[in-house]
């Protein structure tokens, strides 16, 4: 039987664009503030759980080991976990099971991210999340994934961009009350969001959270230790996490079933049977405004496609029926990736204790849910927390995090001229090969055919093909030639390169479901104007001349509307 586990302390740095502090200095600032918040010294900590997103952001190989001293790991059991953007919430889960299992009584959970180190743009570190053989030759940009998912979500449900933009407005306004926020803006309007630069339609500049530096820490304790340390522990009632397929073009881009699976796991543990009634405050992951809505639906708090109207109608406001991201979220407080996720758990802690100051949601919320999302855009991590036994007993006059919360913001000029600064490139170059299944697929492209692999157990024809079925976990059975035609599942009109430089001509990336298969892949649309591109449009592959084909995804020049130019 798992032991009961509580959060007893929390701390965070300001989220800033360029921190003067090193990553480990940020981790230390957040960690010591978390310990100070529950009057604990480091020697009372039994174990340390740390998370930080890709090493390539800080530019430090083995970032967990590098950050260990700032996280209080000296001479202690210590482990960094990493599930991409889902990491921040996951490290609270890691702390939970470290304590619940009886391995430790008091755990420090720390999340740090320093994205300002990456030049020219952190997106460079994200390019390898695309398949190096099937997708990178197309020149992808991280924004594509979000824009493609957002367009499909909007199109299938017939959503109004204004309703989605209202999430960015809510969060940036909420963040104006957060002492640690980077992008709080009390007077922002939906018109401001809709007038901001279009990056990869439908994603505009103000739909996106900013690059940031920062750290967050929690003190997590067993029931016995929690009652000794705090008069008002907040209990971790349920945790859950779940992954979708690694083939993002094969996913349901409308509904995040993996988030729903993670939520069901956490709700079952927490005894939550009617989430919409039993959850009083939510901190869903909001790197983009539509993602908050996507995730609220995944968390089973709204029916599919119904979260946007809740945003429009004020249901998600701090004073609404289900306050969502009262902190200001990633869109408002900032998005130092791993730290931003743990910030959501810290916000629940403060909200449930009645310590959130100007951000406090009214009434006495008893239970909240925090969620993050990441890996190759397919993990959901969920924590349900609650207070038990009457209204909060702690003073409600505390400002959390304290106004003097550290992290010093450097101007770009200070960053460029800092004494002792060093600039360097890892200089790592790679050569990727196609493997067995994709190798055969590329041979097919050279011959002008699209090949899939059939799994006779589940009956699916897999495109891109693989030699094993990840659902049935058995070898696939046969090669099947599928059609050279398909249906546009979603598309984007992208105006920027991966390093955010304007493009001369917009690109039209699309996810195309291939006829005769149960899958599809990323490619480009051609012979169609951006205005005429449609979700649901029937398209056909346009092949390069035989002599120019090399056995590459680029042997298909693009997909065009069937029957010629629309």
């Amino acid at each position: 039987m798992a032991r009961r586990v509580a959060v007893v302390g929390a701390g965070m740095t300001r989220f800033v664009r360029r921190a003067q502090e090193t990553g480990k200095e940020l981790a230390w600032e957040a960690s010591r503030e978390a310990l100070a918040s529950c009057e604990l010294s480091l020697d009372r900590v039994d174990a340390v759980c740390l998370t930080s997103a890709p090493d390539a952001f800080d530019g430090v190989h083995m970032k967990g080991e590098y950050l260990s001293d700032g996280a209080g790991a000296f001479g202690r059991p210590y482990m960094r976990t990493y599930v991409g953007g889902g990491s921040g919430v996951f490290t609270a889960i890691q702390a939970y099971y470290t304590v619940a299992s009886g391995m430790a009584d008091v755990v420090l959970a720390v999340a740090e991210e320093k994205m300002s180190s990456t030049q020219p743009h952190p997106q460079g570190a994200f390019l390898t999340i695309f398949d190096n053989v099937l997708e990178r030759p197309l020149g992808p940009n991280l924004l594509w994934i979000f824009a493609l998912e957002m367009n499909r979500y909007m199109t299938v449900h017939g959503l109004d961009k204004r309703d989605i933009a209202s999430v960015a407005v809510k969060n940036k306004r909420n963040a104006a009350d957060h002492p640690a926020a980077l992008l709080g803006q009390a007077d922002i309007t939906v018109e401001d969001v809709l007038a901001s630069e279009t990056l990869a339609w439908p994603v505009q500049r103000l739909d996106v959270s900013p690059i940031s530096d920062g750290a967050v820490a929690l003190v997590v304790a067993s029931e016995e230790a929690a009652k000794r340390i705090s008069s008002d522990p907040v209990w971790i009632q349920g945790v859950g996490w779940n992954l979708d397929t690694a083939y993002w073009t094969n996913r349901d881009l409308v509904f995040p079933e993996y988030v729903a699976n993670a939520a069901r796991m956490a709700y079952e543990m927490a005894g939550v049977t009617e989430p919409r009634k039993q959850i009083h405050v939510a901190e869903p992951y909001d790197p983009f405004d539509y993602k908050e809505l996507h995730h609220l639906e995944g968390l089973l708090l709204f029916d599919k496609g119904k979260a946007p109207e809740a945003a429009r109608d004020g249901v998600l406001d701090r004073t609404g029926d289900l306050p969502s991201c009262p902190s200001g979220g990633l869109l408002g407080v900032g998005n130092p990736i791993a730290a931003a996720g743990l910030m959501k758990v810290a916000e629940l802690f403060w909200q449930l204790r009645g310590e959130a100051g100007a951000r406090q949601v009214p009434g006495t919320p008893e239970r909240g849910v925090a969620q993050a999302w990441g890996d190759l855009m397919q993990v959901g991590t969920v924590v349900v927390m609650g207070r038990e036994g009457g209204p909060p007993t702690t003073a409600t006059q505390l400002e959390t995090p304290p106004v003097a919360t550290p992290a010093t913001s450097l101007s770009d000029a200070e960053f460029r001229s800092a004494t002792g600064a060093v600039e360097d490139a890892i200089g790592a170059e790679y050569e990727w090969d196609a493997g067995v299944a994709v190798g055969r697929f590329l041979d097919g492209l050279r011959e002008g055919t699209i090949m899939g692999r059939e799994c006779r157990n589940c009956g699916r024809v897999l495109v891109p093909p693989r030699m094993f079925c990840e659902r049935c976990f058995r070898g696939t059975d046969a090669w099947v030639q599928v059609e050279n035609t398909g249906v546009v599942q979603t598309f984007s009109i992208c105006h920027v390169s991966w390093d955010m430089q304007p493009l001369d001509e917009p690109q039209l990336p699309a996810v195309i479901a291939i006829d005769g298969s149960d899958g599809g892949f990323l490619h480009m649309l051609g012979e169609v104007t951006p205005e005429d591109a449609r979700v649901g449009m029937a398209v056909e592959a346009v092949w390069k001349p035989v002599a120019e084909r090399t056995g590459s995804i680029l042997d298909i020049a693009y997909f065009r509307p069937r029957g010629g130019t629309a």
């Binding site: 700032g70 990456t118 390019l127 890892i426 790592a428 170059e429 990727w432």
Partner: protein, 156 residues
């Protein structure tokens, strides 16, 4: 199931990289260290009153007890050689014209060691435990870098 590769050079390969470089700033502790080295030519460490450890280079906090630290302790310039190595090959494995000697020196007043080149060790073999001192470049040549220290040399 495995494909047999007879001619590895004929495998189709998709070359690529991760097109990022990094700018590392020294942080709060490092700023004090590099500023003092640059402007005054001294090596600063941080003393933790709680546990008694003196770190070098200077740090913002004590990793043992989380105490806040400042760059309050000048260490060296002399110290004791804790270990050394003689490097004959470069980063790609190529032989070096002149071997590089690297020393780990615990400067007087510090608990931690500083790693740097050992300058002109001469014919007589280095011995662990012997005394070395920091050689700082002249004021006009210093830029605020760990290379403002030229290396360690034997004390006479």
């Amino acid at each position: 199931m495995l494909e047999k590769i007879a001619r590895p050079d004929e495998i189709r390969r998709w070359p690529g990289d991760m097109p990022v470089r990094h700018r590392y700033t020294p942080g709060v502790g490092g700023d004090a260290f590099f500023t003092a080295l640059h402007e005054r030519g001294v090596v600063l460490g941080s003393h933790c009153a709680a546990c008694g450890t003196t770190y070098v280079p200077a740090r913002r906090f004590c990793e043992r007890d989380f105490s806040e630290l400042s760059a309050d302790t000048e260490v060296g310039p002399a110290g004791q050689l804790v270990s050394f190595t003689i490097v004959f090959a470069g980063i790609e494995g190529e032989p070096l014209d002149r071997p590089d000697v690297l020393g780990a020196v615990r400067l007087d007043g510090a608990d931690a060691v500083l790693i740097h080149r050992v300058l002109e060790p001469g014919e007589e073999p280095l011995e662990i435990g012997e005394r070395l001192e920091v050689v700082v470049r002249p004021e006009g040549e210093r830029t605020g870098s760990i290379l403002d220290i030229e290396g360690f040399r034997r004390t006479d």
